[in-house]
């Protein structure tokens, strides 16, 4: 029984990073509110940010993986992680939808690389950004940039209780309405991405009078053309609209 017995099972967990800002790692190791309990509840067999030892090849009850795949070696590592892990969750917008690193995929990639490096260019091994799900089966998505409180905790608890997770799947508007914010899109005509964006942040931006910029990524049932139409009616140019939809979801939209 998950709650009753005396002996406590400490699932073995690993945290892995691909191309990203390491923010999800910091969220787990520092920013989140259940920090102390997380450290006590899990045996982190691999978490480079937090430990200088650690076994990459360890068998795991839970693998949390952040970052976009932008290098061939990462794809190899990812497959290994998958093989070793009972449960693998993609953490953060980079791992789930490509996030900021995938902006590159929306342009001429070599041009973009040239702007950052001149001499070293031929030594780079970068490949087109892709998400974890392109290479392995992902058991769940802890959305957000950085991940939302509910989903991160749900991911951890699901393993502790050995039950399936239930991640948030509705729009930011739902959270926004529950907070009683007057709608920025309807009332002020601000190009808010809330209607198509997966909730989990607590409607942060609209709550501080800012249009949602979709850092949690598009929700599954997003009606993208319909919101684009709306933005056009608000007077946004095609370029401005595209930018809003490709900030965190460039890859999803390409498909």
């Amino acid at each position: 029984m998950p709650f009753s017995s005396g002996e406590k099972w400490r699932p073995r967990a690993g945290f892995f990073k691909f191309s990203c800002c390491t923010g999800c790692g910091f969220e787990l190791a520092y920013f989140q509110r259940s920090l102390e309990d997380t450290l006590k509840s899990f045996d982190f067999a691999f978490f480079r940010l937090a430990s200088s030892s650690g076994d990459f090849d360890s068998l795991l009850d839970l693998a949390l993986v952040e970052g976009t795949v932008t290098e061939p070696f990462q794809a190899v590592e990812l497959k290994k992680i998958r093989k070793n892990s009972a449960v693998l969750y993609a953490v953060g917008s980079c791992a789930i939808a490509g996030g900021i690193p995938a902006i590159k995929a929306g342009g001429l990639e070599l041009e973009i690389e040239k702007r950052a490096y001149q001499k070293k260019l031929y030594r780079l091994t970068s490949i087109r950004p892709s998400v974890l799900g392109d290479y392995v089966k992902v058991d769940g998505c802890v959305r957000g940039c950085p991940p939302g409180r509910h989903d991160l905790e749900e991911a951890l608890v699901s393993v502790l209780l050995d039950r399936k997770p239930e991640f948030i799947e509705y729009s930011v508007c739902v959270e926004c309405k529950m907070k009683g914010n007057i709608c920025l899109l309807v009332d002020e005509g601000l190009p808010c991405m809330g209607p198509v964006t997966n909730a989990g942040c607590g409607a942060l931006c609209p709550s501080c009078h800012r249009a949602c910029y979709s850092c949690f990524g598009l929700m599954g049932q997003a009606n993208i053309p319909a919101l684009k139409d709306k933005f056009r009616q608000l007077g946004l140019s095609g370029e401005e609209i595209e930018r809003r939809f490709t900030l965190f979801d460039g890859l999803k939209l390409k498909k």
Partner: protein, 271 residues
């Protein structure tokens, strides 16, 4: 029912019978206070921290015994979690909820029970009380995917002894299968009935219920004699949370058993 309808009852697992690879029947002894329930009704079954799921009674307490049974396939969040439970553990129940099978209508009639897969679970209590139904005749038509996924296998012999005409079919027969092979609708088609004296209870996947009902209608069974029990997402079981709404109905409190005409015509279903 408790004053606060959200407070669950504990029930101790007295036994677990493995039906198939992922289906188990839990024999449960609830703490006192849980009303016994009727065939076709369901409980919200769950565990704190995981949630609740509507599970129909596969045995209702009867004849001095408080024991009830739930037959559960480990697929959803709650059911998968419960599949790890062992004898002696406790689970949590609220209920029983809903409108069950109209068993009184079977009196003097030919009761045709049609089930597919796990749909046999809510039908089983009807069979268990068959002596009291005063039905003229009872036929059970049960279909499953393959021989390995037939539940309550050991009971068919006993049911036949009680005089019930049990006919089985599987979609994918394997070696040694001595019964019919094919869809459950096919064995419905073969059935000899007098339409005006027939009442049918159907439970299974929605598409199977619809086709099975259609076969009966071809035999001129009136719609009002055909009862089905659809599945819906439920959170409360009491007609409050709204998830199970289908047309004007709350499947949890107005159903889960409906006569066919009650459901007919509403969108988002196959009826």
């Amino acid at each position: 029912m408790r004053k606060n309808p959200y407070v669950p009852f504990k029930a101790a697992i007295r036994g677990i019978r493995r039906e198939t690879g992922d289906v188990s029947t839990f024999l449960l002894e609830p703490e006192s206070g849980l009303p016994p329930g009727a065939p076709g009704q369901f409980n919200m079954v769950g565990y704190p921290g995981v949630g609740e799921a509507p599970i129909s009674l596969s045995r209702v307490p009867m004849e001095g015994s408080d024991l009830l049974e739930h037959t559960i396939r480990a697929v959803g969040r709650v059911t998968y979690f419960l599949s790890a439970f062992r004898q002696g553990d406790e689970i949590f129940l609220r209920g029983p909820f809903g409108r069950g099978w109209p068993v009184n209508e079977a009196g003097g009639k030919h009761l045709v029970l049609i089930s597919g897969g796990l749909g046999l679970a809510p039908i089983r209590p009807v069979i268990q009380m068959s002596d009291k139904l005063q039905a003229r005749r009872i036929t059970l038509l049960h279909g499953a995917r393959d021989p390995g996924s037939v539940i309550f296998k050991t009971e068919f012999r006993h049911w036949r002894k009680k005089g019930i005409d049990v006919r089985l079919t599987v979609d994918e027969p394997g070696g040694g299968w001595r019964h019919h092979a094919g869809m459950v609708t096919e064995i419905v088609r073969e059935l000899q009935i007098r339409p005006a004296e027939t009442v049918a209870f159907i439970c299974g996947p929605e598409i199977m219920m619809r086709f099975a009902a259609d076969e009966l209608f071809l035999k001129d069974v009136p719609g009002s004699s055909v009862y089905v029990s659809p599945e819906r997402r439920m959170r409360c079981g009491m007609g409050l949370c709204g998830h199970c709404q289908h047309g004007v109905w709350f499947v949890c409190k107005d159903g889960p058993v409906f006569s066919y005409p009650e459901l007919k015509g509403y969108p988002d279903a196959l009826f």
